[in-house]
């Protein structure tokens, strides 16, 4: 059995508009830097490097969120570190460190692509009547256009080994359309996996990390706190609150309950139905983390909001960025995939 796992793993990103996909990616560089584990991140191409650099600057220096994603972006990074895996027999297990490389191949798509409404026949014929032919199809991977974006996205997700799904509880509370942005993509993904004979006992083969975003938002934090899901890591000098992994799913469920349309519960149900339980994990995440005042070291429950109105229509980030569970879902996916190879 070969435990040197240098296999490239592809991880996809999925989420409704404003769920924080771009912010999640933007915070990744900082999360890697701040991680207690020794990780490094490399851009595979220049645009990916630019994104890392620019988005870090936006978050940390300009103290604002990245602009809304208008068009599909193809980004690619490699995370490198070592991981421990258990090897051996049931009677005699031991852990071994093996090099780990995670290829993060991401299509950062506008949220509308995930909730792309199926076209009526009339709608379809309207678009076909525009006279767009295949002339520029061969022009260096020409994309553009909702249909092609969706197709590209589904292809990307279907080929991924792991998926990070971002669930925005704030949006869900206000609009209640999470399921709308979930079900179509899930259906297309399932169809693609069926065609590719990738289903495992009728379920999708992917490892699925469900990230409840905006954990720093008071409504999310307070919900978690009220439910008793908060915990602290003694090794964290800032003592930032976290949701224990064992409770993250419960938090997800509870947040679904308070959503306006209750359709979020369908999301939960779909996840349980379509993905293998041992391949799903929940995380409470925050791209920007909690506020830490300049002269303080520790989290203060009395003043933790890091995102505040900027006096206009927008928001600004008050303090430094301390991403929560941005890297961890990726590491979990990586270890899951490595263990799978090792078995």
């Amino acid at each position: 059995m070969n435990h040197d796992d240098r296999t490239m793993r592809r991880i996809g990103l999925w989420g409704a508009p404003t769920s924080g996909k771009t912010s999640f990616l933007a915070a990744l560089n900082i999360a890697v830097t701040q991680s207690s584990e020794e990780w490094t991140i490399f851009g595979v191409d220049d645009p990916s490097v630019d994104f890392l650099v620019d988005s870090t600057t936006t978050l940390t220096h300009e103290r604002r969120f990245p602009p809304a994603t208008e068009a599909l972006s193809e980004l690619s990074w490699i995370l490198m570190s070592e991981t421990e895996v258990e090897i051996g027999t049931r009677r005699r297990k031991e852990t071994k460190k093996i090099p780990l490389e995670l290829h993060l191949d991401v299509l950062d798509a506008p949220g509308r692509v995930f909730g792309h409404k199926p076209k009526t026949d009339a709608h379809q014929s309207q678009l076909e009547g525009l006279g767009f032919d295949d002339e520029d199809e061969g022009m260096d991977g020409a994309g553009g256009g909702s249909e092609l974006d969706e197709e590209k996205l589904i292809d990307n997700l279907a080929d991924c080994d792991g998926i990070v799904y971002l669930f925005d509880p704030i949006r869900e509370r206000e609009k209640g359309d999470a399921f709308q942005y979930f079900q179509r993509t899930l259906a297309l993904l399932a169809k693609r996996s069926l065609e590719g004979r990738r289903l495992i006992n009728g379920r999708l083969p992917h490892h699925f990390a469900v990230c409840i975003t905006k954990f720093d938002e008071p409504r999310v934090y307070q919900t978690a706190k009220a439910r008793g899901y908060i915990t602290f890591d003694p090794d964290d000098k800032h003592m930032f609150p976290k949701v224990h992994p064992d409770n993250a799913e419960n938090l997800f469920e509870d947040l679904c309950q308070v959503a306006s349309a209750r359709e979020a519960a369908l999301v939960h149900g779909s996840i349980k139905r379509y993905f293998r339980p041992e391949r799903v994990r929940y995380f409470a995440t925050s791209a920007v983390g909690f506020y830490l005042a300049p002269r303080t070291v520790r989290f203060r429950a009395s003043d933790y909001q890091n995102v505040v109105p900027d006096g206009g229509e927008g928001y600004r980030i008050r303090g430094d960025i301390h991403p929560i569970n941005v890297l961890e879902p990726l590491l979990w996916l990586g270890r899951q995939l490595s263990s799978e190879t090792g078995r």
Partner: protein, 900 residues
């Protein structure tokens, strides 16, 4: 200005909302909001990734029902924030029918400036009307210069490669300059490409967009990157269409070799008039358009690239409004020069001449150069092509001397020189020697001095038909510029022996000069004046081999021309020739033939090494079968027959087969040239097969008187007294035909052969043998008799010959030949059989089929039978002799015993 009607859509987000980007409002018209969204998202240039990305302008297209529309999306920050506090951008999209701006071309900048102020907001509102400034070619041309015509040209050509093109390192370039640059690039493409063009003032390379031409921070992997204001060559020659287009553009914009082109203003204007919608997946159409636009400039470009079609070039000289006048004087001459070089016939030349005066203007020299070059190609490279009409033209313009001098300088390779010297010589002879005379052809004279091989050829040509006066005039004319070269020829002409220095000059001039001198010597000189020193200098082993050939040939000519040569002189030449011992076997053979022609004996023939014999035979045959006069040929024949019939070569161990090979080759070649002339040689061939009569066996003269008588007798061409003379043989074909006809006329074998003998139609053993070889096959083919019966005819003929029915001499020769030649022939055939059976490898065992083994065994049986019968016959004779001796002994013994 052109008034256009535009449909519009507003694309963005509502402030404070968490929804994604969508069409917020749209005009009521041809396009529905969903279609606007489809268009806008299809041509999305990606997320703005740098501060200078916005505002940005994206130009696109759409073609509902195959009707082309042009679109422009103007994206800028809105100043508002969405539901999560992020800045919202808004995009105003405008769409207009291409038809409206086809007849009145517009620029992207003009369109932007016209649309930029529009603020449509009312959903379902009407289409808007706006005035758009028309494209001004001068302004576009100015921008081409301003942004670097190299960059602009390369970018335009790159668009024809099928790849997207990104202009890099231009983040600081303001929006309007970016638009102007895009206009400058598009100005160098046919206007109709805009119906399929997507261009933007900024794209994000992280997005897989459909924008063909844009500014960006980075280029995608397969996109072509154009650094801002670059001077680098970006289009690869492998991208054939684009590369050709670029070259054409460059040629039309700048011209070449110091000549003017079409110029940017005219070119932009012309391309703006090419309104037919185009697709980028048919880039060759752009190339064709450029060729059409270019008109005379394009043809000029093609001429310079050696890719023009003369028929197309002639179109520039059309009767109505000839386009040739669009070119400057130098370019016009260039075009006419091309036509001069390519013209095929006099008719076309007539057209050129009609345009000559109009086009030449004050400077005729380039055209004259073309004239000479064209004539030179025809004369030297393809000497069968006529140049007379070109010479006529030179004559009409008083430039014959320059023309001829130019021709003399033309040949640039040895092959061309050799190919055209004869034609050049004819031209000079016609114009100078026979024509006006050499006076005033000074340039031509200098040309000849530079090209002495022409002088040599001229001399050689004049020998055949020229006069002494012509030669004198020629030499007088050339002497001032070629004093050394002409001196030996003057000596020859004046019947003087050339001096050693003059002989040096001849030798330095090489083969051609010596040949010319020898020819002149033959025609106009006194043969021995040059031949004697030529023999002394060039015939010996130290002489150059090529000159030795020439000398031998010249001697042959002289010998042919001198039928009555005195004995003393003959002896002198025999001695000179005999002393020349060249190494080359073919030259030694030439000398041997000449010796025979002089009445002497060959010196090399008995001694040539076997390995050189084939070359010797070739050389012998070449001279022997050359053009001799009849008298010379007769002498040569007699001398050859006499020598080869005699014992001399046999006594020197020259192999019989070698000599047979020589005689056979001579016979074959003579038969080709002189029908029937080979007969005596073929007789000799069979005579050679007779066992030679040893000299010791010949009756020897008993005293000086008898010796002299024998010598005189042999000198009269009788050969050895015991040599038999044969009458001319009849033809084997005739005999076979006679036999065939006689049979067809109903005669049987006995009657046919009786007739043959009575009419003495078969006198030659050679013919008899040939008839026997061919008789069976001939009868079967011509008369249809069966093979067995043909064998009977064959056997009967042989019996008749053996029975001396055709005469005892024939019978005798026949027997001799059969007994001598046939066994050898059978051995040869057996050798071939063995070679075939062993498949060419004599280490392999022979492989005979059963049938072949049977044949061989039959052969062995016959031979064994003959031999054993011969042995028995010999044994009986020996037995009879010994029996006789015993009887004699017994008889003797009995006579000595006492009686009683």
């Amino acid at each position: 200005m052109v008034r256009v009607e535009v449909e519009w859509a507003l694309y963005g987000k509502r402030a404070g909302e968490r929804d994604d980007y969508s069409v917020l409002a749209a005009s009521r018209g041809l396009f529905q909001p969903a279609q606007f969204e489809g268009i806008i998202t299809r041509f999305s240039p990606g997320n703005p990734d740098v501060p200078s990305a916005l505002p940005r302008v994206t130009f696109s297209w759409v073609a509902p029902n195959d009707q082309p529309y042009l679109g422009m999306a103007i994206q800028e920050t809105s100043g508002k924030k969405d539901g999560v506090g992020r800045a919202i951008t808004r995009t105003r999209y405008f769409c207009l029918p291409y038809e409206q701006v086809a007849r009145h071309p517009v620029t992207l900048l003009g369109l932007y400036e016209a649309l930029q102020g529009l603020e449509p907001a009312e959903p379902g509102g009407a289409a808007l009307h706006v005035d758009v400034p028309e494209l001004v070619p001068q302004a576009v041309a100015d921008d081409i210069a301003k942004y670097g015509d190299h960059t602009v040209r390369e970018t335009a050509a790159l668009l024809l490669t099928g790849r997207s093109v990104c202009v890099l390192q231009a983040e600081d370039v303001p929006l309007l300059d970016r638009l102007r640059f895009l206009d400058a690039v598009l100005g160098l493409l046919p206007y109709g490409f805009r119906t399929r063009l997507a261009a933007s003032t900024w794209t994000n390379s992280a997005s897989p967009h459909r924008i063909r031409l844009s500014f960006a921070k980075r280029a995608r992997d397969s996109a072509a990157a154009v650094p801002w204001r670059t001077q680098k060559a970006l289009v690869s020659p492998d991208e054939a269409v684009a590369y050709t287009y670029l070259k054409q553009l460059t040629g039309l914009l700048e011209g070449s070799r110091g000549h003017s082109g079409l110029g940017p203003v005219q070119l932009v204007r012309a391309l703006a008039a090419e309104r037919e919608p185009r697709k980028f997946d048919e880039p060759q159409e752009a190339k064709r358009t450029l060729l059409t636009i270019g008109g005379p400039f394009t043809e000029l470009l093609k001429i310079r690239e050696d890719a023009a079609d003369p028929a197309r070039v002639w179109e520039l000289f059309g009767e109505d409004a000839p386009q040739i006048w669009d070119l400057g004087p130098a370019e016009r001459r260039e075009v006419l020069t091309y036509l001069i070089k390519k013209h095929q016939d006099r008719q076309e030349w007539g057209r050129i001449r009609r345009w000559w005066e109009k086009v030449v203007g004050e400077t005729s020299s380039p055209l004259e150069e073309a004239l000479v070059e064209t004539a030179g190609h025809r004369l030297w490279a393809r000497p069968t092509r006529e140049v007379g009409h070109l010479l006529e033209h030179a004559r009409d313009h008083g430039s014959v001397d320059r023309f001829l001098a130019g021709l003399l300088d033309f040949p640039r390779t040895q092959d061309a020189l050799e190919a055209g010297t004869a034609a050049m010589s004819r031209l000079l002879r016609q114009e100078i020697i026979e024509g006006a005379g050499p006076d005033a052809f000074w340039a031509t004279r200098d040309g000849i001095a530079r090209n002495p091989s022409v002088f040599h050829r001229l001399i050689a040509d004049l020998v055949a038909g020229g006069t002494t006066e012509e030669f004198t005039r020629l030499l007088d004319w050339l002497a001032p510029v070629m004093p050394q070269e002409t001196a030996p020829f003057r000596s020859i002409l004046e019947l003087r022996r050339p001096t050693p220095a003059q002989l040096d000059t001849l030798e330095q001039g090489g083969y051609d000069r010596v040949r010319a001198a020898l020819l002149m010597n033959r025609g106009f000189g006194r043969g021995q004046n040059l031949l004697t020193p030529a023999f002394e200098r060039w015939l010996g082993p130290q002489g150059p081999p090529a000159l030795r050939d020439l000398v031998l040939r010249a001697f042959r000519w002289w010998l042919d021309d001198t039928p009555s040569l005195g004995q003393e002189e003959r002896g002198r030449w025999i001695a000179l020739l005999g002393d020349a011992r060249p190494h080359r076997p073919d030259q030694r053979a030439s000398i041997d033939v000449l010796l025979i022609a002089l009445g002497g004996r060959p010196v090399a023939l008995p001694h040539v090494p076997t390995k050189d014999w084939p070359a010797y035979v070739e050389g012998f045959e070449a001279v022997w079968t050359a053009s001799w006069t009849m008298e010379s040929r007769a002498r040569l024949m007699e001398g050859t027959l006499r020598y080869l019939s005699g014992p001399d070569w046999r006594n020197h161990s020259r192999d019989l087969l070698d000599v047979r090979r020589l005689v056979r080759q001579l016979a074959d070649r003579t038969a080709e040239k002189i029908p029937g002339g080979d007969a005596r040689l073929r007789d000799l061939l069979y005579d050679l097969d007779r066992p030679p009569v040893p000299r010791a066996a010949l009756p020897q003269p008993s005293g000086p008187a008898e010796q002299k008588a024998l010598t005189d007798w042999m000198a009269q061409g009788h050969g050895h007294p015991q040599a038999e003379r044969r009458p001319s043989p009849e033809n084997a074909d005739d005999v076979l035909e006679y036999i065939t006809q006689a049979h067809l006329n109903g005669h049987d074998r006995e009657q046919v052969y009786a007739l043959l003998a009575r009419e003495k139609r078969l006198q030659s053993s050679a013919v008899a043998l040939e008839v026997l070889w061919r008789l069976r096959g001939h009868l079967v083919e011509k008369t249809g008799i069966e093979g067995k019966e043909a064998v009977s005819w064959w056997v009967d003929l042989a019996l008749e010959i053996e029975a001396e029915r055709f005469g005892s001499p024939l019978a005798g020769h026949f027997r001799t030949h059969v007994m001598v030649a046939f066994p050898r022939h059978m051995l040869d055939m057996l050798y071939l059989m063995e070679l075939v059976a062993r498949r060419g490898d004599f280490d392999q065992p022979p492989d005979f089929a059963a049938k072949d083994r049977k044949e061989l065994e039959e052969l062995r049986r016959v031979i064994d039978g003959l031999l054993s019968e011969a042995r028995r016959r010999g044994g009986r004779r020996r037995g009879n002799r010994s029996a006789g001796r015993e009887e004699d002994a017994r008889t003797e013994q009995r006579s000595e015993e006492p009686a009683g």
